[in-house]
Amino acid sequence: MTDDVVLPDDPSLGPDVQIDYPGYRSTRWRVPARPLQTLPEELHALDGPVFGEDVLQASDNDLTRQHDGEPLGERIIVSGRLLDEDGRPIRNSLVEIWQANAGGRYRHEVDQHPAPLDPNFSGAGRCLTDDDGTYRFVTIKPGSYPWRNHPNAWRPAHIHFSVFGRAFTQRLVTQMYFPGDPLMAYDPIIHAVRDPQARELLIASFDLESTEPEWALAYRWDIVLGPGNGATPLEDA
């Protein structure tokens, strides 16, 4: 069964995700069937959107403090840096996350997994990166949950991330996984990245240094964006 879902590693396909990965059924009628075309030129410098503090509300970066009570589950700190390929920090950039609660249930009408909703957990956060490109969230470790991609399919625990970067062409939506999760071996979505070294880039590290004793464990996950073709050159590059 897993042979159909998890294809053998193939680093020759490159580090990017295989967008028509057959093990992930929803790709079939949705992924463009014709080759992508090359734009002859960009019409404009495609700077990404600029966000300010006005997009943020108090406790947007602390998903454990968005309600009157505390959510159930294992409190964690997730932090890391948003970088370009040269290792330069991407500053003042909006990072948005969303996730299931500790029981593996999303606060979304479509999610019918019979695990309890947590009245004290919405599962959404956002923050801006600082001068060092660093983002930081306090949240609850999300649970695994079943989905109907194939018989007995379970998603490994993950947090969804959305980041912008400096240019429209750097836009990235992805998922962060947790080290040692046995479900990753059976998951077609992470295995759509056919290069095992590239898959590692989606897995956070346990981060003892960032833990808060008697309070929360911590994970670290850096995000590296591709080249921002067409973006206005950085003044501080």
Partner: protein, 128 residues
């Protein structure tokens, strides 16, 4: 040596929790309505997709989730040549990029820009 890039993963079906919390579909409050349907290769509406627009001249940005009919809507500046478009959905392991040329959208009323992921007359998608 360049750092390896973080790969993309699908936005999944529950993106609205994190990404559609604000009224983000207005690029220009005094602009015109731009609407359309996001459709799959069988002509079925994609009811759990998301479209993002960039007006590259005004440097404004917007985002709209799709409803059960796959419909999205924006308010945009009418006098821009083209809007840059990104499409996200469950089943798309990486977002797709296309371009909305406003002069190609005819008729009175709201501008209509349908997006066909596959099919006989698919939308043209570009390398990012």
């Amino acid at each position: 040596m360049a750092l390896p890039r973080t790969p993309s993963q699908t936005v999944g079906p529950y993106y609205a929790i994190g990404l559609c919390r604000r009224d983000d579909n207005v690029l220009d409050p005094d602009g015109v309505e731009l609407t359309g349907q996001l459709l799959d290769g069988q002509g079925e509406p994609i009811g759990d997709g998301m479209v993002e627009l960039l007006d590259p001249v005004a440097r404004t940005w917007g985002r709209s989730g799709t409803d059960r009919e796959g419909r999205f809507s924006f308010r945009v500046r009418p006098d821009v040549e083209a809007l840059e478009v990104l499409v996200f959905a469950r089943g798309l392991l990486r977002h797709e990029r296309t371009r909305c040329v406003l002069a190609d959208l005819h008729g009175d009323g709201p501008l209509v820009f349908d997006i066909h992921m596959q099919g006989q007359n698919p939308t043209v998608f570009y390398e990012v």
